[in-house]
C-alpha cells in the first residue's frame, strides 16, 4: 500500500510539472500579447512597453517560468495579467460555483444512469428497454450547447419556472439552487445518456451469469437480485466511465457556463485564453489537471473496494 501511494504521488507531481511546462510553452508559442489585448489598437508603443514591463513580460521565457515555479511552490500563483488581482483570488471566487455544478451534474448523471440503465437491463428486449435506449441514443447525439438552449426556451422563456441564466450567489440559497437546475440538467442529461448505456450493457453481461440465476432460484426477489447482486458486480466498468466523465464534466462547464452566463472557472479559462492571461490559464489548467488525476486515483481505490479480487495486485 505504501509503495502504491508513493507511486501515485510521484505520478501526480510529474503530471503537474509536465502540464505546467506544456501550458507555458504553448502560451508562449501562441501569437498574442496580453498588453496589446488590454490597451487595444490605439495604444502608443510607449504605453504598451510600460505595461509589458509592469507585467514582467519583457523577461526571457525561462526566467518567467522559474519565477512562476518559485511562486507556485510557496502557494503564490501570481497576478492575473488582465484582472490584475492575485490569481488565487479569482479562483477562490469562482471555484464554489463550478464545483457545485460539476458535483450536482455528476450526482444527477449517476442517479439517471443507474435507474435507467438497470431498469432497461431488467426489461431487456421489451418496449421499456427500447425506449430508454432510444432516448439515451438521442442524448449522446445532442450537443449540450443545443440542449441548454432548448431547456432555456422551455423552462425559462415559455414556462418561466426557472431563470435563463446567471447566478445570484450563495447568499441567496434558493435563487442559487434555482439557477443551477437547468445547467445541471444540461450537463447530466448528456452524460447520463452515455452512462446509462454502459450501465445497461454491463448489467446485462452480469445477469447472464449463473450466480444470478442461482440467487433467483433461492427465492430472492427480482429487485433484490438486481440491486444487491447484479449492480455491485457490474460496477467496475461503470466506475471507470464515471471517472472519465467527471473530467469531461469539469471541462463541459466551459460550454455550460457560457450558455448560462455563470461566473465559474469554465468561463474564466475561456476568457483568460482569449486575453493571453498566462498566470490565470496556467493556474486553472493545473487545477483541472489536479482534479483529473485525483479522480483517477479515487477510481483506482474504488476498484479495490468494489472488487476485492484486485487487492494485492496493486
Amino acid at each position: 500500500m505504501g509503495y502504491f501511494l508513493f507511486r501515485r504521488t510521484l505520478g501526480f507531481v510529474l503530471t503537474l510539472i509536465t502540464v505546467s511546462v506544456v501550458v507555458f510553452a504553448v502560451m508562449n508559442v501562441l501569437p498574442g500579447d496580453p498588453a496589446l489585448t488590454i490597451l487595444g489598437i490605439e495604444a502608443t508603443d510607449e504605453a504598451l512597453d510600460n505595461l509589458r514591463r509592469q507585467l514582467g513580460l519583457n523577461d526571457p521565457v525561462h526566467v518567467r517560468y522559474l519565477n512562476w515555479v518559485g511562486g507556485a511552490l510557496t502557494g503564490d500563483f501570481g497576478t492575473s495579467h488582465s484582472f490584475r488581482v492575485p490569481v488565487s483570488e479569482l479562483i477562490v471566487e469562482r471555484l464554489p460555483l463550478t464545483v457545485s455544478l460539476a458535483v450536482s451534474g455528476m450526482v444527477l448523471t449517476i442517479i439517471l444512469a443507474l435507474t435507467l440503465g438497470i431498469g432497461a437491463a431488467a426489461n431487456h428486449g421489451k418496449p421499456g428497454d427500447w425506449g430508454v435506449m432510444f432516448i439515451a441514443q438521442i442524448g449522446i447525439a445532442v450537443p449540450s450547447f443545443w440542449l441548454s438552449i432548448l431547456l432555456v426556451l422551455l423552462f425559462a422563456v415559455t414556462l418561466q419556472w426557472l431563470p435563463p441564466g446567471g447566478f445570484p450567489g450563495w447568499s441567496d440559497p434558493v435563487g442559487a439552487l434555482r439557477s443551477l437546475v437547468l445547467p445541471t440538467a444540461a450537463l447530466a442529461l448528456v452524460q447520463g445518456a452515455v452512462l446509462a448505456r454502459v450501465t445497461r450493457s454491463s448489467a446485462l453481461e452480469v445477469m447472464r451469469l449463473d450466480y444470478v440465476r442461482t440467487a433467483r432460484a433461492t427465492g430472492f426477489s427480482r429487485q433484490r437480485v438486481l440491486w444487491r447482486h447484479v449492480l455491485p458486480n457490474a460496477m467496475v466498468p461503470i466506475v471507470t466511465i464515471v471517472g472519465l466523465q467527471f473530467a469531461s464534466l469539469v471541462t463541459g462547464t466551459i460550454v455550460i457556463e457560457n450558455v448560462f452566463y455563470l461566473p465559474g472557472l469554465g468561463r474564466l479559462i475561456f476568457q483568460s485564453i482569449s486575453n493571453r492571461d498566462l498566470p490565470t490559464v496556467q493556474a486553472l489548467v493545473m487545477l483541472f489537471a489536479a482534479i483529473v488525476v485525483t479522480v483517477n486515483f479515487i477510481v483506482d481505490v474504488l476498484y479495490v473496494l468494489i472488487d476485492p479480487r484486485l487487492k494485492g495486485r496493486n
Partner: protein, 494 residues
C-alpha cells in the same frame, strides 16, 4: 367649450379608476452587455465595456459629449481658449466630491493628467495628452493647460474614458473599486456575472436621476441574451449582438428595437505595404468588385449604412462617395490585369466578430467573381492583434474602427497595420488636427474623405449599426452613438 371643474374632476377620477393599477415607476434597471471587463479603470485598460458602463455614469471628465456629439461641460463648468488656441483655462464646478467623500479640486485634474502622460504611463489613449506642454492649477478651481500645438480634438478627447478625472487616493484601486465623481457610485462587482452601481445622492444633478440601482449583466452568447430578454431578466440590451434575431423582437409588443449608427467604419483592410496592394490599380479593382448592398443584406440582415470612405454618414463633414467606384466586374478584371498581379492565393484573416466573419465569406465570393482566389482564415482576437495588427502578416482583413475622429489612422505611416504611406495625407491630417476654425476644418475633412476614396486604400464597406433592444416603457437611451458611452442619468422606466 366651458371649463367645468366638476366634470374635469369626474373625468379624471373615471380615468384613474379605468386605468389598471397605477404603474409604479421602476427605479432599478438591469442592462445586458456582451463584453466583459477585466478591470473597472478606463485609464489603464481599453476594454470598450469599461467606457460603456462607467464613463459619464461613474467617472466624469472635464468635458463630456452630448447626443449630437457636441462637447459640453462636465467637471469644468466653462473654459476659455486663448487666441493662438494654445492655452486652455478650465473653471471647475465647485462643491463636487468623489464617491469616497474627498473633495474634488484642481489638484485632482493635474494629478489625473500628469499620471496619464507620465513617462511610465500605461494609458490606452496616451496620444490624447501628447500635445500638452504643461498643466497647472491656478487656484483650487481653475486649471490652465498649455499645448505645444493647436489641437481641434482636444476638448473632445478629454471627454473620453481614458481622460477621466480620478483622485490620487483611489487611482491605484480603481480597477476593482472604482471611485469617481459621477451620478452613480460603485456598489458591487461579481467578475464574470454582474456590476451594480447605485445613485449617488451627493451628485449635483442627483435630483434629476430616476434610477436608484443600475445592474449590468455580462452575457456574451447571443442565444443567452435573447433568452434573458424574453424571460424578463433584462430591461435593456443596448449593444445587442445578433442582427438576425432583431425581427423576432420587432414583432414582439413587449419590446422596442432601436437601431442607430455608430462611429464604427467597417473596412475590408488591405495590406498596402505588400504586393499586389502596393499598386493602386489593384486596390481600385477591389473597390469595383465589392457589392456593399449584398454584404449589408447578407451579413448584417440589412442593418448598416454603406460608406464610400472612412467617415460616418451622420457626421457633419460627410461626403457620399459610395458611387466613386461602380460595381463593375469588367473594370475590376481590367485593373487587375493592368497591375500585373501574379494570381497567387490571397489570405483574408478575420477576427472573431460576426460582422467580420459573415462579410468575409460574401466578399470572398465577390472577389472570386473577378478571378481572385481568396482563402479565409478565421483567427481569434489575440492572434489577430499580434499577427494582423502588429506584424502586418495578412493580405485582407475586416475590422470596424469604432473611435470617433479616426481618419488620422491613415496618417500613422507604414508601420501601422494598413502599411499605408502617404505624405500628402499626413500633411492634410496635421492641418485638420491643428485647424481650429470649424468650417475650414469640415472642408478639409471632406477633402480627406475624397482623397482616401481616390486612393482606394481599403474596401470601405458600411457603418457598423448599434442595435438596442428595450423593454416597453424603458426610456432615455440615446438614439445615436457619437461616443462609446452609455449615459444613464436620463433613464426612466414607466
Amino acid at each position: 367649450m366651458y371649463f367645468r371643474p366638476a366634470y374635469a374632476l369626474m373625468a379624471a377620477t373615471a380615468l384613474a379608476l379605468a386605468a389598471p393599477l397605477p404603474a409604479l415607476a421602476q427605479a432599478r434597471i438591469s442592462i445586458g452587455i456582451q463584453q466583459e471587463p477585466t478591470s473597472l479603470d478606463p485609464t489603464t485598460d481599453a476594454t470598450a465595456a469599461i467606457n460603456v458602463m462607467l464613463t459619464q455614469n461613474l467617472y466624469e471628465g472635464l468635458t463630456t459629449v452630448d447626443q449630437s456629439g457636441a462637447v459640453i461641460p462636465q467637471l469644468a463648468e466653462s473654459w476659455t481658449i486663448s487666441d493662438d488656441s494654445l492655452t486652455y483655462v478650465f473653471n471647475l464646478v465647485q462643491g463636487v466630491t468623489f464617491h469616497d467623500g474627498s473633495p474634488f479640486s484642481a489638484a485632482d485634474v493635474v494629478f489625473s493628467f500628469e499620471r496619464a502622460r507620465a513617462e511610465d504611463s500605461g494609458n490606452p489613449r496616451r496620444a490624447t495628452f501628447a500635445p500638452i506642454e504643461s498643466i497647472a492649477a491656478l487656484d483650487d478651481h481653475t486649471v490652465e493647460i498649455v499645448l505645444n500645438n493647436p489641437d481641434a480634438f482636444f476638448l473632445f478627447d478629454l471627454a473620453q474614458g481614458p481622460a477621466s478625472i480620478v483622485s490620487e487616493a483611489s487611482a491605484e484601486t480603481n480597477g476593482t473599486r472604482p471611485v469617481g465623481t459621477g451620478a452613480f457610485r460603485f456598489d458591487a462587482w461579481t467578475r464574470g456575472d454582474r456590476l451594480r452601481m447605485i445613485r449617488n445622492p451627493d451628485h449635483r444633478n442627483a435630483d434629476s436621476v430616476a434610477m436608484e440601482v443600475i445592474e449590468f449583466r455580462f452575457i456574451s452568447e447571443p442565444a443567452a441574451a435573447t433568452a434573458a430578454l424574453m424571460a424578463g431578466e433584462l430591461d435593456a440590451f443596448p449593444g445587442f449582438p445578433a442582427p438576425e434575431l432583431v425581427a423576432q423582437f420587432e414583432a414582439d409588443p413587449r419590446f422596442n428595437v432601436m437601431v442607430s449608427s455608430t462611429e464604427g467604419e467597417v473596412i475590408l483592410a488591405m495590406n498596402n505595404s505588400r504586393e499586389p496592394f502596393t499598386d493602386i490599380n489593384f486596390r481600385r479593382a477591389i473597390s469595383h468588385a465589392i457589392d456593399r448592398e449584398e454584404i449589408i443584406e447578407g451579413a448584417m440582415y440589412g442593418f448598416g449604412i454603406p460608406i464610400g470612405s472612412f467617415y460616418p454618414p451622420h457626421g457633419p463633414a460627410h461626403v457620399d462617395l459610395t458611387d466613386r467606384y461602380a460595381l463593375d466586374h469588367d473594370a475590376a478584371r481590367a485593373l487587375i490585369a493592368e497591375s500585373g498581379f501574379d494570381g497567387r492565393e490571397l489570405v483574408m484573416r478575420l477576427p472573431p466578430f460576426p460582422y467580420a466573419t459573415r462579410s468575409g465569406e460574401i466578399i470572398q465570393a465577390q472577389l472570386a467573381a473577378v478571378g481572385l482566389n481568396v482563402r479565409i482564415e478565421n483567427v481569434e482576437w489575440g492572434f489577430w492583434l499580434d499577427e494582423v495588427f502588429r506584424n502586418r502578416n495578412y493580405d485582407f482583413s475586416i475590422i470596424a474602427h469604432t473611435s470617433p475622429n479616426d481618419l488620422g489612422n491613415f496618417a500613422r505611416g507604414p508601420s501601422y497595420f494598413y502599411g499605408y504611406e502617404d505624405e500628402a495625407f499626413v500633411d492634410l491630417w496635421n492641418a485638420i488636427r491643428t485647424e481650429t476654425d470649424d468650417d475650414t476644418r469640415l472642408e478639409m475633412l471632406r477633402q480627406a474623405q475624397i482623397h482616401l476614396a481616390d486612393q482606394a486604400v481599403h474596401g470601405f464597406l458600411f457603418q457598423l449599426p448599434a442595435i438596442g433592444i428595450f423593454r416597453q416603457g424603458v426610456e432615455g437611451f440615446w438614439p445615436s452613438q457619437p461616443v462609446l458611452q452609455l449615459p444613464l442619468t436620463e433613464i426612466a422606466i414607466n
